[in-house]
Symmetry: C2
């Protein structure tokens, strides 16, 4: 058992932060004092941890010298304002916002070994949920396939945009079912019973920041810096659970039996046989694994591998991965 650690969670009142606190408790992470931080808005409220109420405080006035480890789950701007200060005060940082360019993207099941070469205090990034899901499912196949290209359609749950987006889908759905006029707020249009072809603004080339981020994270996580990856992110009217339709183009014929064996042997992967398929609501939500189903060749093309993935974006894709990174870090701290 490691020495208990003083820890801060920035964004503790958000979807990810709240789940993160829960997981620290579930996994009996060795916490000495837990500091819960958020904006002015929810400072003063409290959150349960290990049977006690912990008061939420404002991040602005927090002294990071009090902690050895801080999770940042409060958006890119907050990470950019405070993460550097925290490290200068001797605190290792696990960032979930994607806002820190120099943070090392890490998914234990894919590139966990890079933790060995880290100096403390460390700066780690828990990548986008989509990158976590794809890395967990594809890393076990890397040695097996001569991958030419990976093609991904990511169907993102509204919770990938935080609490407000979750409330908005519920509100819009209720308005429509009650035949009341729809007034979009968080999203700029109807998301209920609809698909939004784009998540966030696009750049001049037509790519969303999240799409570019996913490509570069996945290259790092898989250790394949030249890999061709094509991604389309779509916003779907699902509350929790991201899903992915994936086509892996290989230079050689794909042996499905070895693929299935590799997936069955992989950590954090749950494979579903082809007489069934996993769904976000029915399978992924609340679980610690990436579900993989519909494992098959392309139609008339045995150099292609098709997969369907689904995972809990807030839990496995974010909070749990961050806590797994912390578990790797505390081993180094011991």
């Amino acid at each position: 058992m490691s020495q208990p650690l003083d820890i801060a969670v920035v964004g503790a009142t958000g979807s990810v932060g709240e789940t993160l606190v829960q997981i620290l408790e579930e996994l009996e992470f060795p916490v000495a004092t837990l500091h819960l931080l958020a904006s002015m808005e929810s400072a003063g409220s409290s959150v349960m941890f290990a049977g006690k109420k912990v008061r939420v405080r404002e991040v602005d006035s927090f002294d990071f010298a009090q902690v050895k480890l801080a999770f940042f789950a409060a958006g890119a701007a907050v990470s950019r304002s405070f993460a550097q200060k925290a490290r200068e005060a001797g605190c290792s940082v696990i960032d979930l916002s994607g806002g820190l360019d120099d943070a090392l993207a890490l998914v234990p099941e894919a590139n966990g070994e890079v933790v060995d070469s880290l100096a403390l205090p460390a700066l780690l990034a828990s990548p986008s949920s989509a990158a976590v899901a794809l890395a967990v499912a594809l890393a076990p196949l890397k040695g097996l396939l001569d991958i030419e290209r990976v093609q991904v359609m990511a169907c993102l749950a509204v919770s990938s945009q935080g609490r407000e987006a979750v409330n908005e889908l519920a509100r819009q759905t209720a308005e429509l079912l009650n035949a009341r006029p729809l007034e979009p707020r968080f999203f700029d249009r109807q998301v209920a019973f609809n698909l939004l072809a784009q998540v966030g603004a696009t750049d001049e080339q037509g790519h969303a920041a999240l799409e570019r981020r996913l490509v570069s994270e996945l290259r790092v996580l898989l250790g394949l810096p030249e890999l061709k990856i094509s991604v389309s992110c779509v916003q779907v009217p699902v509350f929790f659970g991201d899903s992915f339709s994936v086509a892996v183009q290989s230079r050689q014929s794909v042996d499905l039996q070895s693929v299935n064996q590799a997936l069955d042997a992989a950590a954090s992967v749950e494979r579903v046989e082809n007489d069934d398929y996993p769904t976000p609501v029915g399978d992924a939500v609340g679980q610690d694994v990436v579900y993989v189903g519909r494992v098959r060749h392309g139609v008339d093309e045995d150099q292609q591998l098709n997969l369907w993935l689904t995972t809990d974006n807030v839990r496995k894709g974010a909070a749990l991965n961050a806590v797994q990174l912390a578990q790797l870090l505390i081993k180094k701290m011991a």
Copy 2:
């Protein structure tokens, strides 16, 4: 103006059949007598056409010698039982069910010219909605790109499975919002706020019949019998409007400007610039075109063209395409 024709619509009480009757009226199709047919269940009910109530009758007792043209929109089994008889009675058949292997798949915007070589009475297939949407959007690009492979993720609205599926999504959603226990009926699990990775049963290779059908239809419609096409069909909690994330792999660098010009010039295509994007609910539903948006290269890959399509599956994808086929046929009959 062509000579008015005696016409039958089989499945007139379904989503597609009802829309078909509407479109015949909207487009002032030259109808002499319109015979509306369905099963025993709705025989006796009536449907409005051109200001008059038309009584629905049972298909089993209908004599197809009374008509020169019949639309079949009542499922594959009904087409298999009656289409051959209809033709033997001298009636041209436009089948929407996908159940007739010897029917020629036709989308006027893609392979309309094949109608010239048809003998009467003809047997035409209006292909799956997905094939119609993809053919309309890809046919104008065929001459422009040296296409190596087309990769499609099809997000199908529940209406693609008929009226009952539409009712089921509404019912499930209401139950969930009212915190009542969910009892799936038409679908075998929760479809509201969920994604189903599969539409219909899969074969031994893991492909759904609809996925195979889409591949073979698209090869015929584009006149590219060897084209590599990979398709995943997913059931999304959207009432009307199918959407498609498409990646076209070309052997040469793709010139986006000529792609945009070709799409702008194409019949039945409405292109949306990259500062916006089309959605099923906001754009496609009730319209006669295939919306195309998010026209872009792959990330770091200018030999790839990415597109997002959305179209009204019942209208443009089925009923309207069938009526367009009828318009080609009446020219031959004249």
